[in-house]
Amino acid sequence: MTPSNALVQLTDVQKHFPIHQGFIIRKETGAVKAVDGVTIAIERGKTFGLVGESGCGKTTMAKLILRIETPTAGTITFDGKDVHKLKGSELRAYRETVQVVFQDPYSSLNPRMRIKEIIEEPLRTDPKFTKEQRKARIEELLKVIGLRPGSATRYPHQFSGGQRQRIAIARALAPSPSFIVLDEPVSSLDVSIRAQLMNLLKDLQREFHLTFLLISHDLAGVRYLADTIGVMYLGKIVESGGSPAVYGKPLHPYTHALLSNAMPSHPNAPRTEVILTGEVPSPINIPTGCRFHPRCPKVMPHCSKIEPQLQEAEPGHWVACHLYGDTNGAPTPKETAHATATSTAAGNAR
């Protein structure tokens, strides 16, 4: 799980938001376990796709990396340094090296600032740039993202959603970062605009040697952009690996369900549909044992008791499921691994 050239490394990261109740005397009555022990490595120059349904903790993960939230436990390192222990000039450097593009292009740009001010913002405190250099940089960036230089003096409301998202990308590129967090970068855009943006991101990555963390619920889009995939469920990574492996041969029943529920590209495409029951439980009351067991079509008796650990089922392909390998002394028919990938809905382990 720790490739040698990891740029960002998360080790057993947790983020719990305490819940207070009571009036006058406030007691801590529980916690929202948004991120509950996540270990991932994001390789230099690659795209890590983080996939999961709403409320699974993927946005909290981004916030932890971006230092808007502090982890309850665990460490996040960037280039070997603990992100949450950075101070002074190192912290300033980190804030330039790590950038972000948000989902909603309407809320990510200040409506009262001109485009040039918006793009200039991350450069403002950088002593490396003189005023003229900043101006030149803005023009250069507008060209890179495909907007006319005249756009610089306009306001965000004069642009369409797709154009605004390009501006947000330009802002992220301004301080020449090496790592960009993309939080659902295209999901609020129209279908015909999405491909433009995805291609742009792909080209930028190659041109500027960028590392991406792509957060999305759109499996097909992630497939297009990501090299490595992590599937998240209720605050935990349940499966991760290279994207051809995960998409071609999903191991975890949840991944399998997600893939089979994703929309087909052709009405007659061969498909096996796994329909899960119920919805994602609240991160306040996480089920015991395997957190997926109440919805799992292949649930086994001990799944509700023992929490499976992430383990390498195949080289570079990790899964946290009792169907594979033996981490907790639970009985595990190893041969089901292959069966899962091809089987239809009903589980044989039931």
Binding site: R92, R95, V100, S107, L109, N110, R112, M113, E121
Partner: protein, 302 residues
């Protein structure tokens, strides 16, 4: 009293409001904001240059000329266009000077109360948590207190004066500013551009001044317009009750009070100052309403 409505929180994609001259406004936006703006510009002009344009001295009594009717009536003279009161003071002159009083009181109040309220609202909305709860509790207590009665208490304890009126009006309006600005701040804060500013390590004062405050300005403009009207109404009500601007200062409220006992002898004595109050406040309210509709993207693109 103008009750400020809470604007819809959320997206802040508002067009910039360009404050232009009266004529430009009429040409651009039509007659609805034009007429009130014209009234208000006239009022400011009259208030500013009252000594230059007034035909008489505001407090000069002339018992020989008492209760002279307006110029266009049978008993009127061209010397006193709007007639005189029972002390023979020229009504028109006093209305001009009254504009001055209304303007001074409302501008000073907005400057004090509006600034405090905005600051409190920004702080409460941005920082949230216990600070927000505490500040909003205080705001609730002040909002719950009938301002007119507070003024009355203060006027009983002290002598009525400009200072008391301004103090009372400020105490009355700051919680409204605080509440509205807090609401807007709460709506702006979750926007990703604020999150982005935090990620890039922008210092909090700069976030407040550069990212939050400019987006509150449209709401503030509308609120200020409405509140100036409310303050003028409050000042005149207090003066009418004898708890406001002390006589012989020609406050419009005092002038209405002067005419109250003379309805049979001189209907004009309380009519004209009252009309002055109404026209002014009406203009402010209309302008505020128009601004709100104009600045509200939901109504604009409907």
């Amino acid at each position: 009293m103008a009750i400020a409505e809470q604007p819809a929180a959320g997206r802040v994609a508002r067009p910039r409001f360009s404050a232009g001259g009266v004529f430009r406004t009429v040409r651009h936006y039509g007659i609805i904001p034009g007429i009130p703006l014209f009234v208000l510009v006239t009022l400011i002009f009259v208030g500013a240059f009252a000594p230059l344009i007034s035909p008489h001295e505001p407090n000069k009594q002339s018992l020989l000329d008492s209760n002279v009717a307006p110029a266009w009536t049978a008993e009127g003279t061209s010397n006193n266009l709007l007639g005189t009161d029972r002390f023979g003071r020229d009504q028109l002159t006093r209305i001009f000077y009254g504009a001055r009083i209304s303007l001074i009181v409302s501008f000073v109040t907005i400057a004090i109360g509006g600034a405090i309220g905005t600051l409190v609202g920004l702080t409460a909305g941005y920082f949230g948590g216990w600070l927000d709860s505490l500040l909003m509790r205080i705001v609730d207590v002040f909002l719950a207190f009938p301002g007119l009665l507070l003024a009355i208490v203060l006027a009983t304890v002290f002598e009525p004066s400009f200072t008391i009126v301004i103090l009372v009006a400020s105490l009355l309006i700051w919680p409204r500013f605080a509440r509205l600005v807090r609401g807007d701040t709460l709506g702006i804060k979750p926007n990703d551009f604020v999150t982005y500013a935090r990620i890039t390590g922008t210092p909090t004062p700069r976030i407040l001044m550069k990212h939050i405050f400019p987006n509150v300005i449209p709401t503030l403009l509308v609120l200020c317009t409405w509140e100036v009207g409310a303050i003028i109404l409050l000042e005149s009500s207090l003066s009418f009750l004898g708890a406001g601007i002390p006589p012989p200062n020609p406050s419009w409220g005092t002038m209405v009070l002067d005419g109250r006992g003379q309805l049979e002898e001189g209907w004009w004595i309380s009519l004209f100052p009252g009309l002055a109050i109404m026209t002014t406040v009406l203009s402010l309210n209309l302008l505020g309403d128009w601004m709100r509709d104009y600045l509200d993207p939901k109504l604009r693109h409907a």
